[in-house]
Amino acid sequence: MSGVDGAPRGGEVIIEARRIGKDYGNVTALADVSTTVRAGEVTCVLGDNGAGKSTFIKVLSGVHRHDHGELVVDGEPVVFDGPRAALERGIATVHQDLAMVPLMPIWRNFFLGSELTRGRGPLRRLDVARMRAITRAELLRMGIDLRDVDQPVGTLSGGERQSVAIARAVHFGARVLILDEPTAALGVKQAGVVLRYIVGARERGLGVVFITHNPHHAHPVGDRFLLLNRGRSLGDFARGEVDRAELVHLMSGGAELDELAHELDRDRS
């Protein structure tokens, strides 16, 4: 763990990963990965396809157990035995598929699995009015003004869907948001929308883990950058320790790319 001194915005440390490792049989998917997630900070996890990003977040979100190292939440080492356990500690994951049902209305999606009800026994029924009101209010807080919370989620744009998912996680008490490639499938404009929501979530004091393979998306919002390559950590930097050019350089293959550039240069001359 590198000592952070580049003026940390954040509050207390929520998650600390210490030399985390994960094997699938004989294959090592992840080894020696360490980083920190603080309240009010964005920790970016960067890496190319197959770098181990999704394995890492699956460990953080409780889908997989780690085989080596320590996962420390609120100062105590934990082993999650499922996504529920992680959720109970306030660690919520917004998956690439967003855990949304495209054909269902926004408000039904928003409360899916945690529906509000009123009445008792056989008369226990959904409190539709309250759920619609809360959905709209929470979306407004994220800066999304949807005219109609009854429209199916499938009719929303990608960025809007992301923000609904984020708003939902926040509403249900998330302290740490794990965002799995939220900008991957989006155009430049939509990605900008999502980045704004990430900043918004950070400003509300949430710890955000932002997984991406795009350093241009990570750099403007990140407070901490974890770089992964082939299941290993290329470094875990605080905001002041690395600039965008370095980030791009490391991401795009670093030393390997230098070599490639040399080769190509030679051929040309």
């Binding site: 889908v63 996504p83 495209p102 269902m104 899916l112 009015a129 929501y197």
Partner: protein, 383 residues
């Protein structure tokens, strides 16, 4: 599209804020059953004009009863299809429950009420087996329930023959408690010159109950989610497997109900009852707006689908058309109904999607396969 970053607006607590709604037209058009409603009205008007009898009280009583027996099953099958599964054992289940009740009452000397309850328990057990097999093995429900279909069909014939020596249950009227139970399942009411069967009432009640469950309870939310996107639903904490097993039990219950209504209506059941009818239920559900891929539809839609079927089936006879053409007429009617249905629904979605409708629900749904959800490697199946 969103405007600025989240300014900390206070949440409106428990007070009733006005949440804007889409216009009534859009909301109406967005309902899955709107197409079926239009088609039902079309079929109704058509036969009212073409035949003299269709609109008479007796005529109405006839096609309503015809629709009722299909409708109860179609509503349950709609629920199951919304939940992303199929059940092919629905038709023979009608026969099985009727036969079991009949055999117990006529050959085991059991009181009819007891026999009715025993067959309900048996039906629910079959439903549970269907459901558990589907969610535990991860096999498509089409295959699993096809197996149940054959098993039940064989049992119906073999056991009935073995116990009664015939292929139909006879002599129900002499069994203890028959007339009491008949009041519940087989009575009829005279309304003016027409006699209406009690099954019509059961149909209405069952449809209302299922609609309420689907739209106004947590279970209903879970059914839509389980069928629409099982993985997402599971990630959100929806008990997908339990929901699906419950749905199979519901269709089994409906099979039992229709079995009782048939048994007490005619006082007899044949071992071949219900074979081949299972597809009619699925057709009714699809005509009623259910997507074959799950996650979309309504209980009322299934009821309307059955109404269209019942009106067409009896309407063709009212019209006195050659019986040999019946299936062809039915097919054309159903295709027309589906066409109306689809075009109305498509318009509903273009009208309903106020903003960039990149993913039409149809396209989105095509991605998820019903019945395949249990194969999810991260799913609960592992346990």
């Amino acid at each position: 599209m969103g405007t600025s970053t989240g300014a900390a607006e206070p949440l409106p607590g428990a007070r009733r804020p006005t949440v804007p709604r889409a216009s009534l037209r859009v909301r109406l058009l967005r309902r899955p059953e709107v197409g079926a409603l239009a088609a039902a009205v079309a079929v109704f008007v058509f036969f009212s004009l073409v035949t003299d009898t269709f609109l008479t009280p007796q005529g109405v009583a006839t096609w309503l009863e015809s629709a009722a027996l299909f409708g109860i099953m179609a509503v349950a099958v709609s629920m199951l299809m919304i939940g992303g599964e199929f059940d092919l054992s629905t038709g023979v289940m009608v026969g099985s429950t009727g036969l079991l009740t009949g055999v117990l009452a006529t050959h085991a000397g059991v009181n009819v009420w007891v026999a009715v309850v025993v067959s309900l328990v048996a039906a629910l057990a079959v439903g549970l087996v269907n459901g558990l097999l589907v969610v535990r093995t991860g096999l498509p429900s089409f295959i699993v329930t096809l197996g149940t279909f054959f098993v039940l069909q064989g049992l119906n014939l073999a056991l009935t023959k073995a116990v009664t020596g015939q292929v139909a249950v006879q002599g129900m009227t002499g069994a203890a408690g028959f007339w009491d139970a008949r009041w519940l399942f087989g009575s009829s009411m005279r309304l003016g010159p027409a006699t209406f069967q009690v099954s019509i009432l059961w149909w209405a009640l069952f449809t209302a109950a299922c609609t309420w469950v689907l739209l106004r309870t947590r279970a209903g939310n879970w059914i839509f989610a389980a069928g629409g996107e099982a993985r997402s639903a599971r990630h959100s904490g929806v008990p997908v497997l339990r929901t699906k097993v419950g749905l199979f039990a519901l269709t089994a219950f409906a099979g039992w109900l229709v079995g009782m209504l048939s048994l007490f209506r005619t006082t007899t059941v044949q071992a071949s009852t219900g074979v081949g009818v299972e597809f009619v239920y699925i057709i009714c559900a699809v005509v009623g707006g259910c997507l074959l891929t799950g996650g979309f539809g309504s209980a009322i839609g299934g009821a309307l689908g059955a109404l269209i079927y019942g009106m067409t089936y009896q309407g063709i006879v009212f019209a006195g058309w050659d019986n040999n053409w019946l299936k062809a007429f039915l097919g054309v009617m159903l295709l027309a109904a589906v066409a109306v249905n689809t075009s109305v629904r498509r318009r509903a979605h273009t009208a309903g999607a106020a903003r960039t409708a990149r993913t039409s629900p149809h396209v989105a749904a095509a991605g998820g396969s019903p019945g395949g959800a249990a194969l999810d490697p991260e799913g609960e199946v592992r346990r």
